[in-house]
Symmetry: C2
Subunit: 603 residues, 2 copies
């Protein structure tokens, strides 16, 4: 039997693949989630992967049918039909990556009726001459309005700045990108019209480059939010920004620089030009939204915590320093409240298909700040829970972000700790889902009681006067420091889970529902996609419900941003969602202190 | 008899004033034009001046009636009622400065029905609270729309950037400046709404600060266009700009810097703040317009010389770097053609009262580039003449700009040259009106013949093989070089006057009119205000018509810019004027070469 080394990107998982094992099976064995709807029959396009390096079995007839010759040439294959014949490097396109029930959200993306805010028009204008002395601007507007029966009224000043030499170099033929009654770009005919969707998170930024005419996602990439250097959570960044206007400017500059880098990366992946991006949609929580636009944040930090702007905004990309097509706009989806932002709206927009007819639904986006909505017959109420950065690995002794070497899955079997690490490399620490598993396993095994106190166990030891549970000992790490769960770690997780659970409970209480009446729990966000729901339920972070009521939908905020990019109707819908969502300030909810004190108990 | 020294600013004219001579009479004696309609009776407000230094007779009852206590305190007086009692420094407000028939234009300014594009609204919004969590933006828009039955839809992003702390510091009371459906400024209630009108000339820039609510001109100032360092005339600047985009950027930067300096000066004169300026109107020739906006100019330099943009534009001030209220717009009046720009439209707009019912009218704006329009029953045709910078003193041996020491008036009486210099100081050279007088006087005295050849005369000498006429000899200048008119100088003026006259003749020919049918000649522009019309007619630059058909209207382009600032109707009118003005390219007009060859003959 032969083995080859396979490297799955961008997840960074490496492992061995047998010569008689399909790439899909290998990926599954290694814990890399690839969507597969047909069960390995090569019927759908869903398990699409791209081979970056290495040789493979010949394409099957299914594959020849699924892909264009260019796609085949670019290395696109169906993972379920492909066998490796050498060491390989495989890229899994974002749309092929899965989490347990992520499909439903990704499905929405495909089914949207495209109605982008930008329309391309082909024009051939008559050249200027001594008998036709019209200005270049009039020439374009008049041709456009006459030929397509439009009411275009103006051309963006930055577009005008290049118009004359370009028109002449293209022999008076051009593609005009119209937004409402304004020309926001002019390019050679034909040119791709690309769109940019950004999910601007407190910790991570996800960017998607879309083809506006097909709706296809051409490239996706995630980067860290560099504002982290100025504060890990929202409150510390706001504090930084209100210290001086120079600091607020700094926060904006670094994030815009990162966005521009991200856009550059996305473009170079598909050999696109920045100026082909004619529209962007950005979603983020209210603080990220305000810091990006350099809106005032002082009032976000003090009761009653109101945003400067809640409604959707259209801002020229140049007014925030984003380098895309010179006349392009950035559309910002609406916020709900000071601590429930456009990213939550985007998530609700993306998951509408799930909650619309679903009875009582809880939709939750777990992060440093966790937003929870309760949807009851179309009426939505929301809260924001300060769950803190513990699930990002912060404030946890051996915590780390979800990077190579992080324990992401963990089981306690008798006295043995079984774990999986990201990248399959020796363990370095615990990322959020690993921490959650660890606390749940210790609680289920009785090592931790409901109060969170660590009791006796073969792996419990006293370190600097405090008990800690050894997950990976010094010996197992060949002399490196042991990876442990300390009493303080348990307290941190209790606070985080207590914050989330009390958010859910306040929402239920406000509408006089009991937990059992919840028909669905939508769990969104990167972290939410990776957690073991059983662990979350075990420690009491999520209510005890039949498992099939939970749906992990992945980065639904990013999908919502894409929807806003592809469809003006979805923007209208987002406004409607934001408008009909009420906000409950937890601190002022009746009995909040009791609810919280109750919620921090495990189980 | 007592004499005091009086210094008239900003014209810089100094001289002696008798104790029994009114300031108005003194000014007239010194050649400083101050408007006076009532003939010294103190009846109107027209001869208003401001005393900057020195003591005067007590205010008369007419003056006490004419001015508010604050104005009197600020030194405002009527020149016809005031006698000096010490050495004085006197400022003549721009609106009080006159040229022979300038009044009619300045009158228009007063009579315009104000309808500015910006309206102020007073709002008192309810403060945010736990029971009213609306965003600050919504709070403003909803209050505004509800209270005033408006349809405001958005607030400029730069306004939003300050909105929250300001609203709170003003106790939720504010003045909102609305433009269309957009909030472009927010300020404490009440705040002056100021407007900026700019006449952006190739050589000079005139700026006016207006109170939009009263229509009053609060301050006016002229500065040089710093682009002069990069080319004296339009063509050389375009050549510079198309050499590289860095150079085009440079040209824009220096002019914007100058505008910002001008705005600062205007504001500090009246203790106004930059952010009180909520709208600007800029007019200039097409090249200045394009260079300011950094629009492409390459196509302006080659046949068929079409502009990139001809229609009126509204551009955010920040998009050209102009520092006024953060969300304010700059409105640019429309251009007519590549070499007939918005300044000519502004002039036509300002003089509409003169030409509207006036039969056949010629309107002419003399400058480095001279634009001429023929108005025939509401139909307008225009040409552009490359008259060159000779009238700015360039390319003339002893030429200079209109600054202290420049000979501005000249007469040849027998063999004596009588002259007046600017500032009354010893002569340094000749400015445009002086050059024009000199050529006219030499021609009328027979020293120059129709061909422009200098003949014999006691003051003619041969210098470096060429004849020259000595205006001021070395002896008269105490040993400094003589001020002379050379044969080459005469040729330069012939070319300039020939260019202008052939423009007029082409327009007449195109409509089959003869000169005698011209009912009025409107002469606009700074230079046009100072010239002796008789001289211009004598050499043939202007057609030989009864003198009362000529009207020197001063800086009518600046007045047009003000009108555009004060009235949206005037903007509409300007568009209509630009649209109905046809343009004739001189080089392609029938018989142009003959017409030009004929026109360069003097007389």
């Amino acid at each position: 039997m032969k083995f080859y080394h396979v490297d799955f990107e961008p997840v960074g998982r490496r492992g061995k693949c047998r010569h008689d094992e399909s790439l899909l099976d290998c990926a599954r064995r290694l814990g890399v989630g690839i969507i597969s709807l047909c069960g390995g029959l090569g019927k759908f396009h869903c398990c699409k992967v791209q081979i970056l390096k290495g040789s493979l079995s010949e394409p099957t007839s299914n594959e020849l049918e699924s892909f264009s010759p260019q796609e085949l040439k670019d290395g696109y294959r169906l993972a379920c039909q492909t066998y490796v014949t050498s060491d390989c490097k495989v890229r899994i396109p974002l749309e092929s990556l899965t989490t347990p029930q992520r499909i439903q959200v990704e499905g929405l993306e495909v089914s949207v009726n495209r109605k982008p805010s930008i329309s391309p028009y082909h024009i051939q204008v008559s050249s200027s001459s001594l008998s036709d002395l019209r200005a270049d601007e009039e020439r374009i507007i008049e041709t456009l309005n006459h030929q397509y029966k439009l009411h275009c009224r103006s051309i963006d000043i930055d577009v005008l700045r290049n118009i004359s030499p370009l028109l002449r170099s293209w022999n008076w033929e051009a593609q005009v990108s119209l937004r409402g009654n304004e020309v926001i770009a002019i390019s050679p005919w034909p040119t791709h019209q690309l769109g940019l969707a950004i999910d601007l998170g407190t910790t991570k930024i996800a960017g998607y480059l879309l083809d506006l005419s097909s709706g296809q996602t051409l490239a996706a990439e995630g980067i860290m939010n560099p504002q982290i250097s100025y504060g890990e959570d929202i409150v510390s960044r706001i504090t930084y920004a209100i210290d001086s206007s120079a600091k607020a400017v700094k926060l904006q500059e670094v994030v815009v620089e990162a966005l521009n880098q991200l856009v550059n990366n996305l473009c170079s992946r598909v050999h696109a030009k920045l100026e082909e991006i004619v529209e962007a949609v950005i979603v983020g929580n209210t603080a990220m939204h305000h810091l990006l636009l350099r809106l005032p944040v002082h009032q976000l930090a003090f009761s009653p915590f109101v945003p400067a702007v809640r409604r959707a905004l259209d801002v020229k990309a140049r007014d925030i320093g984003l380098c895309i097509a010179p006349g392009a706009y950035v559309h910002l989806l609406p916020n709900i409240a000071g601590f429930v932002g456009a990213d939550h709206v985007a998530m609700l927009l993306a998951t509408e298909g799930i909650w619309k007819d679903g009875g009582l639904v809880i939709a939750i986006d777990i992060g440093t700040n966790t937003e929870v909505s309760l949807i009851d017959n179309g009426e939505i109420s929301s809260v924001s829970c300060a769950s803190g950065p513990a699930f990002e690995g912060a404030h946890i002794k051996d915590g780390m972000r979800a990077a190579n070497g992080a324990i992401e899955r963990l089981q306690l079997i008798n006295d043995q700790v079984k774990y999986e690490t990201i990248g399959g490399v020796p363990p370095v620490g615990l990322c959020g889902s690993g921490i959650l598993d660890a606390i749940a396993q210790l609680y289920l095994a009785g090592v931790i009681n409901r109060d969170g106190r660590i009791g006796n166990h073969a792996r419990v030891r006293i370190h600097e006067g405090q008990p800690e549970f050894v997950l990976v000992s010094e010996e197992e790490r060949s002399g490196s420091a042991a990876i442990t769960i300390t009493q303080k770690d348990v307290r941190e997780i209790q606070l985080a889970q207590g914050a989330i659970r009390s958010g859910i409970n306040v929402l239920l209480q406000e509408r006089s529902y009991s937990e059992e009446e919840i028909k669905k729990v939508i769990i969104a966000g990167a972290f939410g996609s990776y957690i073991n729901v059983i662990s979350a339920v075990s420690i009491g972070m999520l209510p005890l419900l039949p498992l099939d009521r939970f749906q992990q939908v992945g980065n639904a905020a990013g999908v919502g941003a894409k929807l806003g990019l592809l469809s003006e109707d979805k923007r209208v819908k987002a406004q409607a969602i934001a408008r009909r969502t009420s906000y409950i300030e937890l601190a002022t909810a009746p009995h909040f202190q009791e609810i919280f004190a109750q919620a921090i108990y495990l189980g």
